[in-house]
Amino acid sequence: MILNEKQTLRKRQSMSSMLTFLFTMTLLMIPAVAIDLPEGAKVGDVAPNFMLTDTENKSVSLTGYAQAKGVILVFTCNTCPYALKYEDRIIALNDKFSKYGYPVIAVNSNDPNIVPEDSPEQMRKRVSDKKFGFPYLIDETQVVAKAYGARKTPHAYVLQRAARGPGFTIEYIGAIDDDPELENPSRTKYVEKAIEALLGSTKPETTFTKAIGCTIKWKKS
């Protein structure tokens, strides 16, 4: 990545205009981002539709949730200890909010060639062992993770049905709460608070957070 930047800068510097110099200076100020990582979907964006297979080989799409008030979309997996810490909380979110119109959809975008324990068979076993009451979708091409800009597990998106039209808008992106270790009884439960706000016809107070997680295991090109 740094070599690409260097090559680009050398080309620019060979031109002599002030505009080129300013462009170069602006480039240097942009935080270094690996160019092949997905750009983030932002709060307020239309939620990208998707169609993925679940662990029962059923096709699941966002458009199939047109009757729901919203969706709690969580990128998770079988292997990341942080995702595993949150598994019970994800199940609890579905138990609590699906009856209010906000069911969970879980997506696993990890490449099973890199982490065999994230294979569809292992996902099927997980659904059965933990009695997930929600679909656990296989993002085989990793296109959904890229569309949403998901970079790690767990990574949660709260979607709300758009006021007009068939789609959903993204209302919250980030951590489920601020207490992975469950040490703080007065933890801030970001996803719950976001949904409670939306159910009360207001916008969430906190719409974006970042937390530690494991990188999504991208396919090697």
């Binding site: 740094i2 070599l3 260097k6 935080p31 981002v33 690996a34 970079r151 270790e181 494991c214 990188t215």
Partner: protein
Amino acid sequence: MKLLHQLVLFVLLTVGALAQPCIVDVSTLNQRLIGATDTTFVVNLWATWCKPCVAELPNFEHLSRQMSGTPVKVLLVSVDARKDSSTKVGAFVLKHGITSETALLWPVDVDAIDSSWSGAIPATLIVQGARRVFYEREFTFEELKDTVDAFIKKASDKQ
């Protein structure tokens, strides 16, 4: 016998104390990184529970040994839970004979490390004075060495 017990206890406590990483917050870490302007810090963000992080740690250790005596300093900054600092991180450092300086970051303010960081690990930050480049990825030893060399060369190119 009592003396022997005391000696054993002393040794265990000392080793334990040496193994326990310092707990630092982001502001303290940044002050150190930015303050020592002649040093190029290679800060690897990892955790004992992160498999790919643990897999690439030897590459950072190798770099640290290779760069010993130069103004390049490797810092292994763990984002393990604070309660695990001695039990998990300290124990890990001891078990694997880690020689690079290790610290535990608490609380983890993702944006204050780098605004492009999603919070995913492993990740590596290279800092020299005001220059910072952030990588949200794993490194082989060759890739790490090339990246650090390029970072240093860029600094000397400017001068």
